[in-house]
Symmetry: C2
Subunit: 117 residues, 2 copies
DNA sequence: TGCTTATTTTGCAAATTATGCAAATAAACG
DNA sequence: CGTTTATTTGCATAATTTGCAAAATAAGCA
């Protein structure tokens, strides 16, 4: 009878599993790849071009994202395509972007105030 | 004329700043504290009791959350109260919780299928 | 079958970063 | 002052990240 979205009790294991998701996204290269996958699936070579790192490094980053269940992979011919599996990431990035924008604006305002005599 | 929420280009600095947010939440103690703060402000002693770690450790974790602009602090008498500053966290946690639940259910289903003769 | 391409995995070494604990420090209040 | 609450710092230990190179897989093609 409960139509509201449920949230788990702060169970240890649960929190650790959630923390693993955040941790996986807590690296610029991995977050960049996840953001790119918001638009649709990409193969490893494309992701490598995006982040500009060694392919073995990219592959390892992808393994981290996969083990956190953030992405899924599918082989098509010679290529392996990665897709975003975690829903709600786009929305959350929108809020963090807004927060960052606000921070930048506040800095601007402070500077402006300091410049005024 | 664009009423849709904008998302930044995957600018280097921008992605790094966003990654810092995820990284900050990528630790069980910090995520637990952030989740608790969804309900309202708490002082350091209360948060310490929640995570069960040394107060200096808690303080450092809080400093990490603060430097990522996830929380804000305010002194009231002898106590310092922390509040959640980052909007959208609750929603995102709801989606990650759902994802985790699904994963658990899938494991259950696999086990059940294996048990069936 | 052999050859090529795409991707993963592994091992290693170096650099960076994170962690907890304990002691010192600061800030508010009576 | 003395007490309480919180932050900072120093230190030792552990974990992560990265590049590079080499080996291993796996799929498609001649």
């Amino acid at each position: 009878m409960n139509h509201l979205p449920l949230r788990r009790m702060p169970n240890r294991n649960y929190v650790e599993a959630q923390a693993r998701i955040f941790k996986a996204l807590g690296h610029p290269s991995r977050l960049l790849m996840a953001e790119a996958l918001l638009e649709g699936p990409l193969c490893v070579a494309e992701l490598q071009h995006l982040v500009g790192a060694d392919m073995s490094t990219v592959s390892r980053h992808l393994a981290v994202l996969k083990s956190a269940d953030i992405v899924s992979d599918e082989k098509r011919g010679l290529h392996v395509y990665y897709s975003l599996k975690l829903t709600g990431l786009g929305q959350f990035l929108t809020s963090t972007s807004a927060a960052l924008d606000k921070r930048v604006q506040e800095r601007q305002a402070q500077l402006t105030a300091m410049m005024a005599p």
